[in-house]
């Protein structure tokens, strides 16, 4: 469904991605783990052309999108929940959700909204609250809900558990798993929280200094000594 082939990306002189090849199949949860600065966010952002891939190709549904405009890519069925949530703080929860559906058919707005309420009951209770006054966990749910309002074919989540308390982290991962199992949503998940991420993922990739150094099923990676040593020891409590 989504295919990166030998993708390079630069920020000026910084070579942030050094030939990444990976793919995401329909109905999968694919997770990408790696240390700070490994290039995970860059990998997701190149999909939207920010920054553009300096070499290699990215295709979505068999079409090379690496030269398309950011807004065209985002309207073609890829929804990104960016790192750090980026909700519209001074707008109401409902307005945030509306913004998510701005390019989809207004006919199914109400039905989509009901679906989001079912998934995140807290949002329904807070419809008219200013989004910036939601708790961190609620904001994350709003960010995911907003992305889902655009009826994406692939949902891309950049560190959804960032800055959340353990209880919320569990909740967020449960939601991701449920989305995938119940609705068949294809999900690409970037995470620091390797333990949780690998447990719910079908497959995973490990990124280091802009290169994929390891890949396999979630189970394999969880069991792999390299992954255990580098990414799991500190989060073993979870």
């Amino acid at each position: 469904m989504l295919q990166y082939t030998d993708v390079h990306a630069h920020y000026g002189a910084i070579h942030a991605l050094r030939g990444v090849t990976l793919d995401v199949q329909e109905g999968e949860i694919v997770t990408l783990i790696g240390a700070n600065g490994a290039g995970k966010s860059t990998l997701m952002n190149t999909l939207f052309g920010k920054p553009r891939a300096s070499a290699g190709s990215i295709s979505f549904l068999g079409q090379d999108i690496s030269r398309h405009h950011t807004h065209d890519i985002a309207r073609s069925g890829l929804a990104l929940v960016p790192e750090g949530r980026h909700i519209f703080a001074r707008m109401s929860v409902l307005e945030n959700l509306q913004m998510g559906s701005i390019f989809s058919d207004p006919a199914h707005f109400d039905a989509d909204l009901q679906r989001i309420y079912g998934m995140f009951p807290i949002l329904q209770q807070r419809l008219e609250q200013r989004a910036g006054t939601l708790s961190g966990g609620e904001q994350q749910m709003l960010a995911i809900g907003r992305a889902l309002m655009s009826r994406p074919k692939v949902l891309l989540l950049d560190e959804p558990s960032l800055g959340l308390a353990p209880l919320y982290i569990k909740q967020v991962f449960n939601i991701i798993r449920e989305l995938n199992e119940r609705d068949g949503m294809t999900i690409m998940l970037v995470e620091q929280n390797a333990h949780h991420a690998l447990r719910i993922a079908h497959r995973g990739y490990v990124l280091q200094h802009g290169e994929i150094v390891l890949s396999g099923t979630g189970k394999e990676l969880l069991a792999s000594p390299e992954v255990r040593a580098a990414y799991l020891e500190s989060s073993a409590h979870a």
């Binding site: 307005e95 913004m99 701005i102």
Partner: protein, 429 residues
């Protein structure tokens, strides 16, 4: 150091006393030469005399004054803290009183010229207020909703005014014919300016727009053949009442007064102009209220809030900003047409930077994004200096003090809470 302490634990009385003692010590140091000692004229010679009781009074005042001040500041901080706490619970429900106040104000503005029909000054001032309200609403789209700092808004006002002045004096166009053309022209200028510059962020955009405003003014001053230069353009045709001019009776054709069988009075035009700008302003308000409910209006605010998210949602951020810029410019252009028609004479002097600053102050003071706040702020900013005329040179000082007081009292502007654009009907509740 002390501020750090003040935040971590409640300040004890001893600390406060110590603090006040320090202030008192400084007061003694300063007070000895300034108050404690003074010179007296003793038969042609200057003698130094002492005034210890005065010094004592001064130091005591400083000591207790400091204590009182600190106490007041503590109370203020406490209040602010509790206010911040409650703010997190804030729910953006629409406020019915605001709506009623709006209707009340509308009613008042409708009867104002009738109530003050014998007072030309009041109607004139109200007309000026309405021009600024309209300009404020226009700039509010750009600054308040889309979050783009435009310091050269007056340029679009000038484009509108000069469009009407030139089209009417050179080609004999009337007010209503010019209005859409001038609006479109101003919007075009907005797009021309915005296209290359809207990629710039905050401060840079502000500087570029500031420069643009000045460029337009300098061109108007120097391109004498086109704009009349510093002398401006005079004897611009005044708007007529559906073809009936406001003139004393004469043989050539019907006038407003003769048609309605009234005695000619110069007030007729003043009142007509008032209603004209009232209608224009109300249309502007409806237009913006309508836009705010449409996706484009929501998109403006979303872009103001977070560009990254907007891009991730598939919005073309540059186009969204451009639309806000163009619509703001168009509204400024409309106001400009009215201004030229009302004055009958325009010159570059009416389009200086301080006009841009005033309009921006109206938007900021009103509470960015609030339509109603703009009305209050425009009224204040026009009426306060008028009231201050008795104070002549202190007028601007008073005006500045009033502005500062308002910003201290209401840091988010007069109406800082925004109304949600849409409350779902039927889906919830």
């Amino acid at each position: 150091m002390t501020t750090f302490q003040a935040r971590t634990h409640t300040v004890t009385l001893t600390e406060r006393l110590k603090d006040a003692t320090n202030v008192a010590l400084i007061a003694i140091l300063l007070g000895i030469p300034m108050i404690g000692l003074h010179t007296v004229d003793a038969g042609g010679k200057l003698m130094v005399a002492t005034r210890w009781p005065w010094l004592l009074a001064f130091v005591a005042t400083m000591f207790f004054g400091r204590l009182a001040l600190q106490f007041a500041i503590d109370q203020f901080k406490l209040k602010r803290l509790t206010r911040q706490r409650t703010r997190t619970l804030e729910v953006a429900t629409p406020r019915p009183w605001l709506k009623w106040l709006g209707y009340g104000l509308l009613g008042f503005s409708l009867v104002l010229p009738i109530a003050f029909s014998d007072n030309r000054y009041v109607v004139d001032t109200a007309t000026t207020v309405l021009i600024y309200v309209m300009l404020g609403w226009g700039l509010n789209v750009v600054v308040g909703l889309a979050g783009l700092l435009d310091l050269g808004y007056v340029a679009f006002y000038a484009v509108g005014a000069y469009s009407y002045a030139l089209l009417s004096t050179q080609f004999g166009w009337n007010f209503w014919e010019t209005l859409p053309v001038a609006g479109a022209l101003a919007a075009l200028f907005g797009i021309l300016l915005g296209w290359p510059t809207l990629r710039l962020r905050g401060d840079y955009l502000a500087i570029v727009t500031l420069g643009f405003g000045e460029i337009i003014r300098v061109i108007l001053i120097n391109w004498t053949e086109f704009s009349g230069g510093p002398n401006g353009i005079g004897s611009i045709e005044r708007p007529s009442f559906f073809g009936l001019p406001f003139k004393p009776d004469s043989d050539d054709g019907a006038t407003f007064a003769s048609f309605f069988g009234l005695e000619y009075a110069s007030e007729h035009r003043v009142i007509f102009l008032y209603y004209l700008i009232l209608v224009l302003a109300l249309l502007t308000n409806l237009f913006i209220a309508r836009l705010r409910k449409l996706p484009v209006g929501l998109a403006w605010e979303a872009v103001r809030e977070d560009e990254v998210a907007c891009k991730a949602l598939g919005m073309n951020v540059t186009n969204v900003k451009l639309s806000a810029f163009a619509i703001g410019a168009m509204l400024g252009g409309f106001a400009g047409v009215f201004f030229a028609a009302r004055q009958g004479f325009i010159s570059p002097e009416s389009f200086v930077f301080s006009e841009s600053a005033t309009i921006l102050a109206i938007v900021v003071l009103g509470g960015m994004g609030s339509q109603f706040g703009v009305v209050i702020a425009a009224s204040l900013l026009v009426i306060l200096p008028e009231l201050g005329r008795d104070f002549s040179e202190y007028r601007m000082l008073l005006f500045g003090a009033a502005m500062i007081l308002i910003m201290v009292w209401k840091p988010g502007g007069l109406i800082s809470r925004r109304e949600p654009s849409k409350v779902l009907a039927g889906v919830e509740k």
